[in-house]
């Protein structure tokens, strides 16, 4: 296979992994965000927690795999983004560390203080990553200040405050609204009784918030200076971000959409998903599937707009990382593609089996009858 084709495939796979993350880990992050609000007493909260208890760990592997895949397929992106977004990453890590212990430890002691503390820890573990992942995505549009010397050692002047710019914060809120919606449809499907009903009532508000924020974001990008390649395209050249030129163009982020009108399907899918999730909220499974379309459409919308940029540099635009100069070697991309083709279907198969085994709503009675076995 050609190097340029492999790079496109890996760009698409990166998108698929992020979408997988947002759909699968997304609903349990959303569930954690909703936990303190839809569960009003201990047993209700345990119902909420146990809807994701058996599956959240598998879901989080989408994140671990996402990190691993960026490392393997896009090493310069991994190096630049993770060290550049240093404190943001640190906050995400702290929040994510709270989750495994939160789920496992919370119900091991009866003390209400202990349990309430972990409930809020789980909320933080859901809200902070949801917000920061969105903020990170927003900064892909804004661009961040970094460059390289001739050894490709990065220098940067990125600060946590500069990452929290207005557009990025808006993107963070889009992400929170989207995952809250997805968590609400999940709870409406899996949580029996009052918590499920409360979650169902939240669905329209979360969907509306998403649609409004997403629209504002879209209009905002049309007024931004986007990044465009200005040198001749070398799609199969070495992965060295010092060999091209880039210009900032007003409305540049919308150029791909004017070139390929079919791309408009992506935002359409996002809106459609949100709308169907609201209309079908009395049929929880359909509503959940619909709300899964929202992250699919949203991430695709952003990715298609940014292509071929992976991480744009606001200080040295020529040194931005793109699909064409920030990948692994051809051999590594081939090996990793082979592994993905073999393992991704297997993963999807046993994940589906696990959800089948665990099917059916979580009821308060089943928690009390096996209080030691459940979270």
């Amino acid at each position: 296979m050609d190097y340029d084709t492999l790079r496109i495939i890996w760009w698409a796979l990166l998108g698929i992994l992020l979408i997988g993350l947002a759909i699968m880990d997304g609903f349990d992050l959303g569930t954690a965000i909703l936990l303190p609000f839809v569960g009003r007493n201990d047993i209700e909260r345990r119902v909420v927690i146990n809807t994701v208890g058996p599956v959240w760990e598998g879901n989080q592997v989408w994140l671990i795999l996402g990190g691993g895949a960026i490392f393997a397929a896009w090493p310069p992106l991994y190096a630049t983004a993770f060290s550049g977004f240093y404190l943001a990453m640190f906050l995400v890590l702290l929040a994510l560390i709270l989750r495994p212990v939160g789920f496992k430890f919370r119900s091991k002691l009866v003390s209400p203080t202990w349990r309430t503390m972990w409930d809020w820890a789980l909320f933080v573990g859901g809200f902070v990553p949801a917000l920061i992942f969105g903020v990170a995505f927003g900064n892909l549009f804004v661009g961040v200040p970094f460059g390289f010397d001739s050894d490709l050692r990065m220098h940067e002047t990125i600060t946590l405050l500069s990452l929290l710019n207005p557009f990025a914060l808006l993107a963070g809120l889009v992400s929170v609204a989207m995952l809250t919606l997805h968590g609400a449809t999940w709870l409406s499907l899996k949580a029996d009784g009052a918590p499920g009903a409360r979650a169902r009532a939240i669905v329209p508000y979360a969907a509306l918030a998403f649609a409004v924020l997403f629209t504002i974001g879209g209009v905002w990008t049309s007024h931004m200076d986007g990044f465009r390649l200005t040198s001749a395209l070398v799609a199969d050249g070495p992965s060295n971000p010092l060999m091209k030129t880039v210009a900032r163009v007003a409305g540049g982020w919308w150029q791909n959409y004017s070139l390929h009108p079919l791309f408009w399907l992506a935002p359409l899918v996002a809106y459609l998903g949100a709308a169907v999730a609201v209309m079908a909220r009395k049929r929880p499974l359909l509503a959940w599937v619909a709300s899964a379309l929202v992250p699919l459409g949203t991430i695709a919308t952003a990715g298609l707009s940014l292509f071929p940029f992976l991480l744009a540099s606001s200080s040295d635009p020529d040194m931005s990382l793109t699909v064409w100069d920030a990948s692994s070697s051809k051999l590594t991309l081939e090996i990793m593609l082979g592994c993905t083709v073999i393992f991704l279907p297997i993963i999807l198969a046993y994940t589906a089996w696990a959800y089948r085994v665990l099917r059916g709503p979580v009821k308060a009675e089943s928690i009390t009858s096996d209080s030691h076995g459940n979270y």
């Binding site: 599956v55 550049g84 050894d151």
Partner: protein, 518 residues
């Protein structure tokens, strides 16, 4: 403090923390599989309750392993950005494959292990448990392939256009002999940790005459599995020594505090006080032949000493300077074939030239004194390695003796009558963790000053982020991890004290009670 020290401290602390939980997960997951297999084969409910009880402790530990593991995956990018750029093409792949092949399976099935007891047939649940155990071990395999490559960077070459190492032969990365030896050694160490854990806690119950039936059975399983594992950890540790002898000669020499090449076969120093200043080891007690046999498996190949290896390093630095110079010129004149040829001829020593970066940025103009200093910097901390290694090996032999005795007593059905032995078992509890952590000290500290042996000095691997960020996150992780560790030990102790009945919420089944057929 400078960013290199801070980043190294952070890696050491987070990795050593992570490895408090990993070996117990490795060992217990297999022990759970064994216990549940007995349950499914005999239908005796006590074995199901054993699986569930040890499973509950496994769960508390597993959560901590996952919590501390997330940091590991992201830390390379955060603190070691240049490392990630320089070797990501090779090093990233095993990490990503670990996620796809192992961790996904492990994380999906751990949920089914806990929540699936009443939702599937006995055999299906047993399959889930074994899949969990196998996935856990596969996970270790891929991580150690990645780590093995840091010790022995086979199957990769430098690309001047991308300024990084790239895979040239993936099979060599995969079947790296160092990685294979490390994998079996490390998982065996995990089995020893799991076995000592079960042995010690069962001994605690037997000493107090509580849960005697469950404890005695658990102890029997731990004794037999532990004996096999303790033997394997020592034998395969020897394999690690041999593979290190192939490539990391300096590490072997430092572990031995062997300053000068001895006539073959080299002797093994059991005791001594290494002196860094004079390059001598005082009060040595030596056993002839042993080191030569371990490191070379021959009686006539010499094992090189530290001073001799420093001389080799000087020559490699000089070669490396030629490569570095060609590379610097090539950046300005990418089409120049002659320069590429010069680079290719000396590229294997490029890493040695990078050792000079600590002394001056323009490596080409290094003085002889700087070259000598750079060559001397290839000597790791000899006393630390010398003693870490000896404590680890001593503990390894102690575990063999302990498990052999436990095995003997259990075969004679006299486990619960020897209170002194039971007390020894209980007090052994922390020791396998110490041995495992010392193992990592030997492996990683012994590789310094390299992050990738012979390819990239550790000091160059760091990020360009502000040192304050690293200090902040270091303190953050330290405080955060330590509070979680307190909660973890508190819960562990609470549930161990509570015992199986309290943990399961019902009395453990009588010894010969059967579970009715489904």
């Amino acid at each position: 403090m400078d960013i290199e020290i801070l980043s190294r401290l952070q890696f050491a602390i987070t990795a050593l923390y992570h490895f408090l939980f990993v070996p117990l997960t490795l060992g217990l997951s297999i022990l759970l599989g064994i216990m549940e297999t007995v349950y499914v084969m005999t239908g005796r409910a006590i074995w199901r309750d054993m699986t569930k009880f040890w499973g509950a402790l496994f769960g508390i530990n597993f959560a901590m392993g996952v919590a501390t593991g997330i940091t590991m995956e992201f830390q390379f990018g955060m603190n070691w950005a240049y490392y990630s750029h320089y070797v990501g093409d090779v090093f990233g792949a095993p990490l990503a494959i670990e996620g796809m092949m192992a961790f996904f399976l492990e994380a999906t099935f751990v949920g089914l292990f806990f929540f699936g007891w009443n939702r599937m047939s006995k055999v299906a649940h047993l399959t889930v448990t074994w899949a969990l155990g196998i996935a856990t071990n596969l996970s270790a395999l891929w991580i150690l392939i990645a780590n093995g490559w840091m010790q022995f960077p086979a199957g990769a070459r430098f690309n001047a256009d991308t300024m990084r190492m790239e895979v040239s032969n993936f099979m060599e990365v995969l079947f790296n002999p160092v990685a294979q030896a490390k994998f079996v050694h490390t998982v065996s160490a995990g089995y020893v940790v799991g076995s000592v854990f079960v042995l010690a806690i069962s001994a605690y119950y037997l000493l107090r005459q509580r849960h005697v039936e469950l404890a005695r059975r658990s102890m029997t399983v731990a004794a037999s599995f532990g004996l096999a594992s303790a033997l394997s950890v020592v034998v395969l540790g020897d394999e690690s020594g041999y593979t290190a002898g192939l490539n990391q000669k300096m590490k072997i020499a430092a572990i031995e505090a062997m300053w000068n090449t001895e006539p073959a076969p080299a002797s093994f120093t059991v005791f001594g006080i290494p002196d860094l200043k004079t390059h001598t080891t005082n009060y040595e007690v030596k056993v002839p032949w042993v080191l030569g046999l371990i490191a070379t498996r021959t009686a006539d190949t010499p094992v090189p000493g530290i001073n001799n290896l420093v001389e080799v390093a000087k020559q490699r630095i000089k070669n490396g300077i030629v490569a570095y110079d060609a590379l610097a010129k090539l950046k300005a004149d990418r089409g120049n074939a002659a320069l590429r040829k010069t680079l290719d001829a000396h590229v294997d020593d490029l890493g040695y030239a990078l050792l000079l970066k600590r002394f001056r940025p323009d490596v080409q103009n290094a003085t002889q004194a700087q070259i000598d200093a750079a060559a001397n910097s290839t000597i790791p901390n000899v006393p630390a390695l010398f003693w870490s290694f000896r404590f680890m090996v001593g503990l390894g032999f102690y575990f063999i003796a302990l498990f052999a005795l436990a095995f003997y007593l259990s075969a004679k059905r006299r486990l619960d009558t020897h209170r002194v032995f039971l007390r020894v078992c209980l007090w052994t509890l922390p020791l396998p963790w110490i041995a495992a952590e010392l193992g990592w000290v030997v492996a990683e500290y012994g590789r310094q000053p390299w992050v990738i042996e012979g390819v990239l000095p550790t000091a160059l691997g760091v990020s360009s982020t502000a040192p304050g960020n690293v200090l902040f996150s270091l303190l953050g992780f330290l405080i955060f991890y330590s509070s979680l560790l307190v909660a973890d030990i508190f819960l562990m102790t609470k549930y161990i004290r509570l015992g199986p009945d309290g943990t399961l919420g019902h009395a453990v089944a009588a010894p010969f009670a059967r579970v009715p057929a489904e």
